[in-house]
Symmetry: C2
Subunit: 273 residues, 2 copies
Amino acid sequence: MNAPDATRPIGVFDSGVGGLTVLKALQAAMPHEHLVYLGDTARLPYGTKSPASIERYACQAAALLRQHDIKMLVVACNTASAVALDALREAMHPLPVIGVVDPGAAAAVAARPGGRHLVLATEATVCLGAYREAILGLDPGATVDELACELLVALAEEGWNEGPVAQDIVRRYLAELAEASRHPDSVILGCTHFPLLRPTFAAVFDDSVAIVDSAGTTAAAARELLRSLDLATEDGAGRLTLLATDGATRFARVGGQFLGHDLSWKDIEIVDL
Amino acid sequence: MNAPDATRPIGVFDSGVGGLTVLKALQAAMPHEHLVYLGDTARLPYGTKSPASIERYACQAAALLRQHDIKMLVVACNTASAVALDALREAMHPLPVIGVVDPGAAAAVAARPGGRHLVLATEATVCLGAYREAILGLDPGATVDELACELLVALAEEGWNEGPVAQDIVRRYLAELAEASRHPDSVILGCTHFPLLRPTFAAVFDDSVAIVDSAGTTAAAARELLRSLDLATEDGAGRLTLLATDGATRFARVGGQFLGHDLSWKDIEIVDL
């Protein structure tokens, strides 16, 4: 690969709009890069689907992004990262592919070495134990608890990100854990929807608890990878293309909350997978 | 059609497991009938998808059920009934097709003639105003309010059907309504997930409010239709076939709550649409 390749876009893939939290971090870390974001809104949520379906959907989404001549794929969906990263790397070879689980685990371990980590994620991510494996691989002395919290996805999509209802739901989930697990050193937001609920987690957990999400560390890892491959763009204004498989109006309404600014349905191109 | 046709099964279609509340009512009303239930679990929820996608998915599901030589199609999904009933009738002609919206509207009008009705449903069902149209068609003097309550779907799937968290969520939704609309004569459970939350609605609304769901009236309508076509089976034990497009384990776990008895993943056949 040579210099002209560096102007190609970065592909970002998520099951829906949650990955826009990662997209926002990528824009902040690499303001000169062109980004093509694909949200598979027709088939979300991935978190309650079987591994075989998740892998198939993720590979179809990646294939579509490759048609946009991307230079790297960022899997912004925790579930797809947990389930399908190996399959995606094989399918996209030699394009570099990075997920959000390893950067999230690394951020948690850096924040609380040897600590007790509580992973809040979807059913599929928890079932596969991807965060547990990643954390213990980096820090064998760590303790990892995992909790599936499907309802928090719907809560974030509804925009009920703070207040008593959101706090009660989080506390109800925590009540499912053993006493010791309810007092972690770090809480890992293992679903891209959950960063929206930060005010709620901050209210529920002690100030001493590190609230960790993957967006910032994934963006930093993506930037380093591009630089190491001499594929980074260092000038010009980055462009953004937003693709979705269904529901431009809902994507704009909910996605605007994730991106932190208003979107119009006309900003989203509907594609078929 | 003649007598042997009567032993053919009834096809029941839903976007997931919620339609099992309708299936249960069909079994109670017609214990001799064979039933084939298809839950499109790979593509749920329908309630947040575009009308075009919902129509396409519903027609694919109906085509698969037709391969099982069904004698009638019951659309147990409110969203699909609201969006795709005309398309399904055209696609399945001359097979009879009934949805849940008209029977639900009829039940509400019968319970509270000339009353104020509050429809709780998914975004897609509310957007199309299908219940409003059906109720006002039967009872022009009625008043209809509609409220999209996506979070209640996730709540029922999680099995948090009663208690303070569920009640607070319902009250938070009601707070979006004008004062008068918060005091209806009937509450229509316009999503097949919502009958599970009956204890919560009973706690939130006055005793004078009629809580109406479509399951019983849809089953009664289906029975009358079969009898009028001389297609009813009046002896032998009815069989049940459960089909899903993804996730037999989750279908069994969540579906058991809806059906009211335990299911094993081995009871569910996974099919591809």
